[in-house]
């Protein structure tokens, strides 16, 4: 079992969550959609609700475990032709860092987009709470990317909104 050296700050950081997806869309469309609050509202539906946007970024109310609904700020901290980097900021500072990279596929149609999320819940309670996230963060990242793909490829995202049932 590998035990990270506590004096090595890079090794001590939790491994990032990485999810990749291949989409039939251009790099520009992927990155533009990713930073559009209207699109983000769809991507994050069910776990974060849009509050407001500003030049620096956008504010979201998150559906967190244990009935918590903290408000966080999604700030774009870096952007290039192929990548957008964002920080998720709470009252105590940066809670997570997101990076979406998009690049044309090699020798096949489409664009590969990779979402990388680094987050480090501090404290025993926060780490336990993170385990209660449903779906778990890696699966959540996958769901977000699939919604992004559906929106870009078809103009709509699959949903069970107003789905009839006897309950």
């Amino acid at each position: 079992m590998h035990v990270p050296d506590p004096h090595d700050s890079e090794a001590a950081r939790p491994a990032p969550i990485r999810r990749a997806i291949t989409l039939q869309a251009s790099v520009e469309r992927v990155l533009d959609a990713w930073t559009d609050p209207a699109v983000q509202s769809v991507l994050f539906a069910g776990f974060a609700d849009f509050v407001e946007s500003s030049r620096e970024g956008s504010r979201w109310r998150v559906s967190a475990p244990l009935g918590q609904h903290p408000v966080v700020f999604l700030r774009t901290v870096g952007q290039s032709a192929l990548r957008v980097q964002q920080d998720v900021e709470g009252d105590a500072g940066v809670l997570a860092s997101l990076s979406l990279t998009a690049r044309p596929c090699v020798n096949r149609d489409g664009v590969e987009a990779e979402l990388q999320v680094r987050y480090a819940p501090d404290g025993v309670v926060e780490r336990l709470a993170a385990r209660l996230l449903d779906p778990a963060p890696p699966a959540l990242a996958g769901q977000i990317l699939r919604r992004l793909r559906a929106g870009l490829e078809t103009g709509e995202v699959p949903t069970l909104q107003s789905n009839p049932a006897a309950r």
Binding site: T22, E153, P164, A166
Partner: protein, 391 residues
């Protein structure tokens, strides 16, 4: 509206639910004309496949009339009679571009539920567990059809409702199963199961040029249907000691060129192997009774094709070594209905594919619970129970 809802293992009830509404621009609302039972429904009704929630509306094989369309729908209009494949497809993703419509990337809102089991999410299915999207099913007065331009096929005026109904699922599933066999002149195709999908597979194999088609079952009325309506040779597996041996002798010692499994995970069987499967299934140690599939693998000639249409979950005792040593090609999928429907509707118009004979029992939706009882227990010679909402 009224709808047939799942409320627990072997607990179906016709209940009142909200009507569906247009949600996305590509949606259509269909007034269901006819909706039928399917053998794969039994897998979650019996509790072998998880992922249902109390109150879920079931049903995935249906036809009806367009009532309302979203602003992005251009290929269909209100008032049209349409048939809809059971799998929901966007028509624009990489898989849909390859005509692999049941593998659509963009129609399952619950893809995270499938990833641990399948590796990657597949298309949504009407009325077939939350792992396949959680969409409300078709045993109801109305249903919402996403991506309606891709999912709704206009029914020609000279094709009846009952013929069109079975082109929603049994027809394209059976046809795909036969298509997977890459049938060549002189080929012998054996089909396990003379239910609706098996009968459609047998008919399709004949249409695709098979020299001989052999239908395998134990129920006299189904074997008679295969023989008298579809024109298949038949094999009653309860009357022989070994189906693979019987097929070997029927084919000059070589075996069928292609074997189609249209039975799936709740296969009936005999002997120690079947007893083993039943015990493990009852103990929830695996989900599948695989006798039909194992027979098909053993019976298939060397270098032949195994086409699997049956729905399966998790099985042990799978003879992979037999497949490998005999060089058998395996092809399988949930049906790519959007790919096959234009051809099937044309065949129906020509009179070459008229599945209405499988509608052995027709009843109001309000009697649907009884309909599933007839269907599940094969009472009164039931092949398919067809429900009529609003009747």
């Amino acid at each position: 509206m009224r709808a047939l809802c799942w409320n627990g293992v072997n607990d179906l009830r016709v209940e009142t639910t909200p009507d569906p509404i247009l949600v996305n621009p590509g949606d259509a609302i269909i007034k269901v004309g006819l909706s039928t039972t399917c053998g794969s429904d039994l897998h979650f009704i019996d509790g072998y496949i998880p992922g249902m929630r109390e109150g879920d509306i079931i049903g995935h094989e249906f036809m009806g009339t367009v009532m309302e369309v979203g602003p992005a729908v251009t290929a269909i209009r209100p008032g049209q009679r349409v048939v809809i494949p059971s799998l929901i497809s966007c028509g624009r993703c990489w898989h849909c571009g390859r005509h692999e419509y049941s593998l659509c990337d963009n129609t399952n809102p619950n893809g995270h539920l499938q990833e641990p089991v399948l590796g990657y999410p597949t298309a949504g299915i009407y009325g077939y567990t939350h792992a396949f999207g959680g969409y409300a099913g078709s045993h109801a007065d109305y249903i919402r059809v996403p991506h309606a331009d891709v999912g709704c096929f206009a029914i020609p005026d000279d094709v009846s409702d009952e013929d069109a109904l079975f082109l929603s699922d049994a027809g394209p599933t059976g046809f795909m199963g036969a298509d997977f066999c890459a049938i060549r002149p002189g080929d012998v195709v054996a089909v396990w199961g003379c239910g609706a999908v098996g009968l459609m597979a047998q008919l399709s194999a004949r249409l695709l040029g098979a020299e001989r088609v052999i239908g395998i079952d134990r129920l006299a009325e189904r074997l008679a249907m295969a023989r008298d309506v579809v024109g298949s040779e038949t094999l009653d597996y309860s009357a022989v000691d070994s189906v693979p041996e019987a097929l070997r002798e029927l084919t000059g010692g070589r075996g069928p060129d292609a074997c189609i499994d249209a039975v799936g995970m709740e296969a009936h069987g005999t002997g120690a192997g079947y007893a083993y499967d039943r015990v493990k299934q009852a103990l929830h140690l695996h989900t599948d009774r695989g006798q039909a599939l194992r027979e098909a693998i053993l019976a298939c000639r060397k270098g032949g094709t195994l086409s699997v249409l049956g729905v399966y979950g998790v099985m042990d005792k799978f003879p992979l070594g037999t497949l490998m040593n005999k060089g058998i090609t395996v092809r399988t999928a949930q049906q790519h209905g959007q790919h096959y429907l234009p051809r099937l509707l044309a065949l129906a118009q020509q009179g070459d594919l008229l599945p209405r004979f499988m509608a052995t029992h027709r009843m109001p939706l309000e009697d649907a619970v009884r309909g599933y009882d007839l269907f599940k227990h094969k009472k009164e010679g039931c092949v398919r129970a067809v429900f009529v909402p609003g009747a």
